[in-house]
């Protein structure tokens, strides 16, 4: 069984990472602040002005440790990885499936089923936990709408119709998302999704969590040998990781959205941790970003039972499991792709 290893996130500006024997060392202003044995690390994510020695990069490539570079705000820039893993036959089959309209739609439907079902569960949880504090009837209406759409997915076999259902479901879901924020509600208002740039703290938080999620899903797909760029629900667009975005859909509601809500509702992020630029774009300050990263890492340690495999595993391993299950579906071992349905 693959082990769930930690990802090292380096946010300290000016940090220098280098290889020291079999360990990865982090130096800040001439002081070594951290040393980690390389075999305990699954990936390294560098935010902003962080540099990595070529020897460490090589060592990471040899040990299957992916190193990614992001801007301070989490926009993906580049990634260093060893020789392409996996199997050309798997990738060719993936391309054939994506080229076939009917297979493409059937595959997209698996991802959408995961997305809609998990979005519904997020709303049901909110009703259960905060039923008296929120506009329960509005939330319940959206739950019903999502249920209808889940049934509707079955009947639709063309991609445009499926995307239409998705669009409507997303609109309805984000329409009541504001209801799920029960603390500091004045500062954490959510009036719809915006992202380029995020214009309020909630969108800023969601965007950042989606970036972390995309990074993990993409790595898992690459490790499995799938091509993260060739999607089913998301059409090919150069530079866009279509399959990673497809697989993210099922993770968004319970992994990112729930985490954002928890951070806000438990007061782990505060309104003053967000900065509004002159243009209206909202950014996180460094302490908040760190807090979010810690919470994300903690969340990955939580153990759940995989609903399809019926085995217990840390949440962080789910990305790899889902990627493996997708690869097994592509290779014809399974009669479909089982999205992770969260209860």
């Amino acid at each position: 069984m693959k082990r769930h290893l930690n990802t090292l996130y380096v946010t300290t500006q000016g940090a220098y990472l280098f290889k020291d024997g079999e360990t990865l060392a982090v130096k800040v202003e001439e002081t070594v602040r951290l040393r980690l044995p390389i075999h305990t690390v699954a990936g390294v994510v560098c935010f902003g002005q962080v540099s990595v020695s070529p020897f460490l990069l090589g060592h990471c490539a040899e040990n299957n440790v992916a190193v990614s570079f992001l801007t301070v705000n989490g926009k993906f820039l580049a990634k260093v990885q060893g020789p392409a893993s996996g199997n050309v036959l798997l990738r060719r089959q993936q391309y054939r499936m994506a080229d076939d309209t009917a297979t493409c739609a059937a595959t997209a439907r698996f991802f959408l089923t995961g997305k809609l079902a998990n979005a519904r569960t997020v709303l049901l949880r909110a009703l259960r936990d905060h039923g008296e504090k929120i506009d329960a009837s509005a939330v319940r209406r959206v739950v019903d709408r999502l249920s209808q759409h889940l049934t509707g997915l079955e009947a639709r076999s063309d991609l445009d119709a499926l995307r239409g259902l998705e669009g409507d479901a997303a609109h309805a879901y984000y329409g009541v998302f504001d209801q799920l924020i029960v603390s500091c509600h004045e500062a954490f208002r959510f009036a719809g999704r915006n992202r380029r740039p995020p214009l309020d703290p909630v969108n800023c938080l969601l965007s950042f969590l989606y970036t972390l999620l995309a990074h993990d899903v993409r790595s898992a797909l690459e490790t499995t040998g799938l091509d993260p760029a060739v999607g089913f629900l998301h059409r090919d667009r150069p530079g866009r990781p279509g399959l990673a975005l497809d697989m993210m859909e099922e993770f968004r509601p319970f992994f990112a959205d729930r985490l954002a809500l928890t951070l806000i509702n438990l007061g782990r992020v505060r309104p003053k941790g967000f900065i509004t630029a002159e243009t209206g774009a909202v950014l996180m300050d460094e302490a908040t970003r760190k807090e979010v990263l810690i919470a994300y890492q903690e969340r990955k340690q939580d153990v759940v039972e995989h609903p399809f495999l019926r085995e217990k595993m840390p949440l962080g391993l789910l990305f790899h499991m889902q990627a493996t299950l997708f690869a097994r579906y592509v290779r014809g071992d399974l009669d479909g792709y089982p999205p992770l349905l969260w209860k």
Binding site: M1, K2, S85, G86, N87, L89, L90, F110, T113, A117, R120, T121, L124, S147, L150, T224, G225, P307, F308, L309, H320, T324, L325, A327, R328, Y329, R331, D333, L334, D335, G336, Y337, P338, P339, L341
Partner: protein, 210 residues
């Protein structure tokens, strides 16, 4: 005769004989996972490999010897090849393969060793009549004679291997006692992919009971 391009690793023979799906996952799907057994095996091999050449009782011992056979289409590295003095004044090669566990009922270890012997015969142009398997668990050597039957089994396994890899199809999974010691279980998912679990049923059941 195979071209150098077409050579397959000798270790794949053993994977094929142990489990055809394991062989496909490693050599077709290119999935590889370490587990405690493969790491222990690696350490054992490292030790066998690092000591270089030595000589005792008139026997020359070579470690980490590169092998290939264009006849069988194989390439690989033997842990240890001993060179025993022969009656004609030359030397007779005697391959020794290190294994982590204990002797197995299946022929996979002897076939792997015999494949090494056939490579040595082709490369040295001299007969290689015998070799040995050294098992880490029992710390005993088990002598293996490369008789006609074993040679035939090995040659058949090589043909089978080449046809299998060329076809590029991964066989269906089957969950059984071998899975417990297999490092590929996480990539194979034998309990989910063995035809036992249906995604359609899973989705239907999960969506009926929100």
């Amino acid at each position: 005769m195979f071209s150098e391009e077409a050579l397959l690793p000798i270790s794949a023979l053993q994977h094929l004989l142990f489990c055809r799906r394991q062989c496909a996952l490693i050599h077709i799907e290119r999935a590889w996972a370490e587990n405690v057994f493969t790491v222990q095996g690696g350490i054992l091999h490292e030790r066998a490999h690092e000591q270089g050449y030595e000589s005792h009782d008139g026997i020359r011992v070579a470690r980490a010897v590169s092998l290939r056979s264009l006849q069988l289409g194989l390439t690989g590295v033997a842990d240890v090849v001993e060179f025993h003095p022969a009656s004609d004044g030359l030397e007779t090669a005697f391959p020794v393969e290190y294994k982590r566990g204990r002797p197995k009922a299946e022929a996979c270890d002897t076939v792997q060793l015999c494949a090494q012997a056939l490579c040595l015969e082709e490369m040295l142009g001299r007969p290689v009549p015998a070799g040995a398997l050294f098992y880490g668990r029992t710390r005993r050597r088990l002598g293996v004679a490369f008789d006609a039957a074993l040679r035939e089994t090995t040659q058949a396994a090589c043909q089978d291997l080449h046809a299998f890899i060329r076809a590029g199809l991964t066989p269906e999974a089957m969950y059984d006692s071998r899975c417990a010691s297999c490092s590929m279980e996480g990539a194979c998912l034998p309990r989910a992919c063995g035809g036992k679990r249906s995604v359609r049923t899973y989705l239907r059941q999960a969506l009926e009971t929100p």
